[in-house]
């Protein structure tokens, strides 16, 4: 009864609060200095020396290769994701359309970024703030032809997160032609592609095709990966990526610092 009453009461709450919470993150949160990556920092120091040795040996080996690999998983292949507070502690997913993997990097250098250039529609997201995530769904109205609600999303990942078989997964969207490049100016490897998801027709909508572009940019020496995605267009993503200012925070991240070793490029709970 108590649960139902609470639930009903929440259904009766003022629209203004509902809208406010959807539209914007308060400024005092956006400027907080705390990091979003869930870390078990105490472990970092204890393995730093060993990791440094592995990294030193690793860099030479990896430098000659493209630092991202990709495969299409079997439909039955299971990816287990930690689910906070869930009684079972995890959820499992199948049918991934693409798995991007990285060298088993012992240490990754934590980074933060800020856009050096943004399209006019998203210019209000610029500024001096250094971030590890930038989302633009609040500006979706400025893109009238969008199929989802995300003009541009920028997120950071770390190769050390994906060690021991971990991967960055495309779960719902299917990639089209995948382009692999090396950008000398930034010293990064780049994988980019257009991806689509077809929602079948039902009683209330015709067949609907969702589209987005995805650009992965990785630095094998520092062990970080940045994903730019969204519907602003690939040319825009490339320009934003090439103008992204990136700096290291001084923090070192290892496999044990991450709760999950898979994460999704296109939704889900990762």
């Amino acid at each position: 009864m108590k649960r139902e009453l609470l639930s009903k009461a929440f259904g009766e709450m003022d629209d203004g609060f509902v809208l406010e919470a959807y539209r914007s993150v308060p400024e005092d949160a956006a400027s907080a200095s705390e990091r979003i990556v869930q870390m078990k920092t105490k472990r970092i120091i204890s393995i730093a020396l060993a990791a440094a040795l592995i990294l030193a040996l690793g860099i030479a080996a990896y430098a000659a290769f493209f630092s991202m690999d990709r495969r299409v998983p079997e439909a039955t292949e299971t990816f287990r994701i930690h689910w906070e507070d869930h009684p079972s502690g995890y959820l499992e997913w199948h049918n991934a359309k693409l798995a991007v993997t990285f060298p088993d990097t012992a240490e990754s250098r934590e980074i933060e970024f800020r856009p050096g250039w943004l399209p006019e529609e998203l210019a209000s997201l610029g500024g001096e703030t250094w971030r590890d995530r930038l989302t633009a769904e609040q500006l979706a109205d400025k893109y009238p032809n969008m199929t989802a609600s995300q003009p541009m999303l920028i997120e950071t990942y770390y190769m050390s997160m994906f060690n021991q078989g971990g991967a960055l997964l495309l779960l719902y969207y299917t990639p089209e032609d995948i382009i692999e490049e090396h950008w000398d100016e930034q010293g990064v490897d780049v994988m980019r592609f257009h991806a689509t998801q077809v929602l079948p027709a039902n009683d209330f909508r015709p067949e609907t095709k969702l589209e987005q572009d995805i650009l992965l940019m990785s630095d094998p020496e520092a062990g970080w990966v940045v994903r730019l995605a969204g519907e602003a267009g690939m040319d825009t993503l490339v320009k934003v990526a090439k103008n992204l200012e990136i700096r290291q925070t001084g923090r070192v991240l290892t496999y044990d610092d991450f709760m999950d070793h898979y994460t999704f490029m296109d939704g889900g709970v990762g």
């Binding site: 009766e12 005092d28 609600s149 209330f204």
Partner: protein, 185 residues
Amino acid sequence: MTDTQIIDLFFERSEQAIEELAKKHGAAVSRIAFNILGNPQDAEECVNDTWLGAWNAIPPSRPSPLRTFVCRIARNLATKKYHAGTAQKRNSQYDLALDELCEYIPDSDSVEDRCGARELAAAIDRFLDGLEPLDRFLFMRRYWYSDSLGELAKLSAMSYGAVSVRLHRVKEKLKNYLLREGLLV
């Protein structure tokens, strides 16, 4: 397409209205449905029911803002489905969020004996009005949208622990507020 244009399509009884509504607000609606129901099949069903609900309500309604309107329909349908027992249970963020809140409302003097949902909602509205924006944001995203603590941490650029502690304090404040208002003893 703007919300006004979508609503115009509803008034013209054009099926394109559903398509455009789904394109523009589908992600938000799906997320709420999934957060509450905890599995994709039930969530998809709920999303489709939401579009039907919007189709039946517009016209005569001309909701503004449209997003809040459809999110509210989705939430109501999802919670109804959840409580009706047709959805897979004990696995959603909605469950966890409700459990968290229930911890702050004692069973010994149940709140439902003292007030109805509408009165409780009005009290929570007044309580939220006095909160700092960040606390209000975290509270609404956790208990209205049923976002996970991890997602809140991402959204607010705070650590998981900081979000959890902050929400704990808000709930303590809510409990004290409801006590002062005479809704709890």
